[in-house]
């Protein structure tokens, strides 16, 4: 007897349809899984058997073969177990033959017959929808997340016994609780209400740098001695980020769901803020790792901030691995059998000490060789990616608190909208992503701005990249001022945001 049930597995952040075929035949009792399962898949026997027995269902003492098709695709995780169990029930005529018509099945089984949640529900359900399936059975805990995918009926399942009854129409399907799927930004449990930009005294240029970075999507490097407030500033960057638009929110939720760190399975509407420690491995930062390739911090920071504190302490190899995602806004991971692409469209915010001794620059005691070694850790190509670089100094005694986050956030939101409108239909949506080629056309200079521009390039002896960065940042400053023209004043301010640090 043969039964086939639709399930799905993850490949990167995409779902792939998998047909779970269960064959029951005469012969010595056995249970084999074929079709490139991982260790979790091969272990499924004990869980499926115990779950069926706990649910007072019969475990056929016959030769059972489970095939996961297509055979060439490597499958990961225990998410097929529910499909296997349902396949067995179909094969033993415990369920009506057509009850799983056009239905995808996801779920891991517990020994007591309970149905456990899986990673990457959105991506998997999306794969079912693309394949034209009409219904999907998901673990109840994943149901709210699954319901974010439109045009497919979500059927939540709590236990195997209950699911069997529902499929036989002996019980009604449980309701999907969607009340808290989409939530307002201010109800985020991760939100630390106590942070606000008004906590920061003085540091007007540093505040401007933060605002510009967020508004224009310019990568930001802050250099300064320990304790001057670099980290304090960076932590407050989340308070001026505009909320994610619906499309971005779904993207972010999907990636975090695949990584398995989606809190309570709801839509993420706040831009992520990822702050990996400087001991993070290259795989942790850019993704990959052994076994199933998982998204790294750069992907988890998509549509949000990747904050690297103590940039100079990261291993040079790890930092160099950042260059490709910064350039392409995606991470490519090549494996023997497949090449995956993870999104990595993040804003890089980094802090660094000016030198290894950590003293303020004018009191630094480092000898030149040690200093040169420290600076070499940050390669020139990486430093070139930072449009905004600045020195942060301690506040002065007469400094007063600046604007609150709410005021800045409004300005940022308006600037982002301006850029969206201006760049509609372009490959880039933000000034920070503006390539050097079309820069001259996209950011025209007129009148005294032209002279100011030439004077800056000459005086600072700027390279092409440095000059382009200043022009892009000037455009963002103009957007924040809500003006169409980039003036000499904007260029002058932009120039101050381009220090030769460290």
């Amino acid at each position: 007897m043969l039964a086939s049930v639709w399930s799905a597995t993850l490949l990167g952040v995409e779902g792939r349809l998998v047909a779970v075929e269960v064959h029951v035949s005469n012969g010595l009792p056995a249970y084999n899984v074929v079709g490139l399962p991982d260790a979790a898949g091969r272990e499924s026997r004990e869980r499926v058997r115990a779950a069926m027995l706990s649910s007072e269902l019969e475990w056929p003492l016959r030769r059972l073969t489970v095939n996961l098709a297509p055979g060439g695709l490597r499958k990961t995780g225990a998410g097929f177990e529910l499909a296997v169990a349902l396949g067995l029930l179909l094969a033993s005529a415990e369920l009506p033959t057509d009850c799983l018509e056009s239905t995808g099945v996801l779920g891991e089984l517990g020994l007591d017959g309970s149905i456990r949640p899986v990673h990457g529900t959105i991506a998997l359900v999306d794969a079912f929808r693309h394949a034209g399936l009409q219904r999907v059975i998901v673990p109840a805990a994943n149901a709210p997340e699954a319901s974010l995918v439109t045009d497919i009926t979500v059927l939540p399942a709590r236990t195997l016994g209950e699911l069997r009854a529902c499929l036989k129409a002996e019980l009604p399907w449980p309701e999907v609780d969607t009340s808290d799927v989409v939530f307002a930004a201010d109800s985020d449990p991760d939100d630390d209400e106590s942070l606000d930009l008004s906590d920061v005294r003085g540091l007007r240029l540093a505040r401007e740098a933060l605002e510009v970075a967020v508004a224009g999507g310019h990568h930001l490097l802050m250099v300064g001695p320990p304790g001057v407030g670099k980290t304090m500033l960076a932590r407050r960057i989340t308070t001026i980020l505009p909320p994610l638009d619906p499309e971005a929110a779904l993207d972010v939720t999907r990636i975090h769901s695949v990584a398995g760190d989606l809190a309570s399975g709801r839509l993420v509407t706040r831009a992520p803020f990822r702050a990996p420690h400087h001991t993070a491995s290259t795989a942790a930062l850019v993704g990959g790792g052994s076994g199933r390739p998982t998204p790294g911090e750069v992907s988890l920071a998509t549509h949000g901030i990747l904050f690297l504190d103590e940039l100079g302490e990261f291993s040079p190899a790890t930092l160099d691995a950042l260059r490709q995602p910064l350039e392409e806004r995606a991470v490519r991971i090549s494996r023997q059998s497949s090449a995956l692409t993870f999104p990595a469209d993040f804003l890089l915010v980094a802090c660094s000490n000016p030198c290894p001794c950590g003293e303020p620059t004018d009191r630094c005691r480092c000898d030149p060789a040690r200093l040169a070694r420290y600076r070499r850790r940050l390669s020139a190509p990486l430093l070139d990616r930072f449009d905004v670089r600045m020195s942060v100094s301690p506040p002065e005694s007469n400094d007063v608190a600046g604007e609150s986050s709410a005021v800045v956030r409004e300005r940022v939101r308006a600037a982002v909208d301006r850029q969206r409108a201006r760049y509609a239909g372009r490959r880039w949506q933000r000034n920070g992503a503006l390539p050097a080629g079309p820069l001259r056309r996209e950011v025209p200079l007129t009148g005294d701005a032209v002279d100011a521009w030439r004077e800056i390039i000459r005086r600072r002896a700027l390279t092409g990249r440095g000059a382009a960065a200043i022009r892009r940042v000037a455009r963002t400053l103009a957007d924040l001022d809500d003006t169409a023209r980039v003036t000499a004043g904007h260029l002058g301010r932009a120039e101050q945001l381009r220090e030769d640090v460290p």
Binding site: L205, C364, N398, D500, P502
Partner: protein, 384 residues
């Protein structure tokens, strides 16, 4: 010996033969030769040829002389060393190298040896290369300081080097990164004379980063060493080298020095040799000025103006001229400069202290940079 080399050699006083100089160069180039060992040999055999002959002849006196003068090495080590000496150091090869490189060998016994006899532990032999050897005849000023100099210190050293070179002084220093290099460059800027005293062999360029500077000094001054060809940089040789800088100079100027460092050793040697020492005062916040301030507290003359050096040299009765005329700037730019208070600052600090809008600060900073009143370095704005 080639014609060029004998031409060079003829410049030496007639009473000392060329053979003696070659012998001295051979001695200097022996393995593990140190200034102290060389001094011991010359004390026993004033003529280098005799010393070399004694070594070649396995004279037991060599061992006795070395043991008597330098006791830090064990007897067995000396036996091994002297045995190595007997078989190394080729006369012909040394003569060939001296001729090919145009190296001059100055012996302590020469009348025109640049360091006078009263200086304790003066080198017995100096190897000198370069087209500006006349630098060692006129007034000489050593400008020394830390390698970890601030942009302020570098600028001061360069300006001082320039000023002294224009006044006709040769600038003596150690060719190191930081103050040393800046002082040499200052002198070379105005085509003055630079004397670089190195702690390696004359055929070794250290630090590598200064290879261009080495070439320039060779062309417009000279390089001086008491070590044989091929001697690699070694931490122990630098403090010993510093006594030559102090010895060659008529006046020693310390521009920026850390509390512990080679520049202070040079200053101490200079005091020992009865040379005037001038130190440039700095902020107590500046770690790179702490050594200078300590020297001042110990009684060094403060250097407030370049002409102070000329006063110390006895070249001028004491008139003061300012460093360089100040450029005229707008009122706001002047406010920004005053807000620096002579110390490096960030744009944020200028904004906080003046209360000006960022756009105006940007304009003022650009104006000051244009007129050279502010300099951007290491992420800060440095007033000059």
């Amino acid at each position: 010996m080639s014609a060029t080399a004998s031409g060079t050699m003829r410049m030496f006083p007639p009473d000392v033969t060329d053979d003696e100089r070659v012998a001295a160069a051979v001695l200097v180039g022996l393995p593990s030769m140190t200034p102290a060992r060389l001094r011991a040999l010359f004390a026993a055999w004033p003529d280098a040829r005799d010393a070399l002959a004694a070594i070649r002849a396995h004279d037991p006196e060599v061992l006795t002389v070395l043991r008597a003068h330098v006791r830090t090495t064990s007897h067995t080590d000396y036996v091994a060393l002297v045995r190595r000496w007997t078989s190394s150091g080729s006369w012909d090869a040394t003569a060939r190298i001296l001729a090919a490189r145009g190296t001059r060998v100055h012996l302590a016994g020469d009348d025109d040896f640049p360091i006078e006899e009263v200086v304790p532990k003066r080198p017995e032999v100096l190897l000198i290369e370069g087209e500006g050897c006349d630098a060692l005849r006129g007034p000489r000023v050593a400008i020394v300081g830390t390698r970890a100099a601030t942009p302020h210190g570098l600028r001061d050293a360069r300006e001082l080097g320039r000023f002294l070179a224009q006044a006709g002084c040769a600038v003596v220093s150690g060719m190191a990164i930081g103050i040393d290099g800046a002082a040499h460059i200052g002198a070379l800027d105005v085509e003055g004379r630079a004397v670089g005293v190195v702690a390696t062999g004359l055929d070794v360029v250290y630090p590598r980063r200064h290879h261009v500077l080495f070439e320039r000094v060779r062309r417009h001054g000279c390089l001086v060493s008491e070590s044989g060809f091929g001697t690699k940089p070694d931490a122990s040789r630098f403090p010993v080298r510093n006594r030559i800088i102090a010895g060659l100079a008529d006046v020693v100027v310390v521009v920026e020095a850390t509390i512990k460092g080679g520049a202070r050793i040079t200053a101490e040697r200079a005091l020992e040799y009865d040379r005037p020492v001038l130190a440039m005062p700095g902020s107590r916040r500046n770690a790179a000025a702490a050594g200078c301030n300590a020297l001042l507290a110990d009684g060094a003359h403060p250097l407030l103006d370049p002409s102070d050096v000329l006063v110390a040299l006895g070249m001028t009765p004491g008139s003061r001229r300012s460093w360089e005329p100040r450029a005229q700037v707008s009122g706001d730019a002047r406010r920004c400069l005053d807000a620096c208070g002579g110390e490096p600052a960030t744009v944020d600090q200028l904004a906080s202290r003046t209360g000006l809008p960022l756009e105006d600060i940007a304009r003022c900073v650009a104006e000051c940079e244009r007129t050279g009143l502010l300099e951007r370095s290491r992420g800060l704005l440095w007033p000059r």
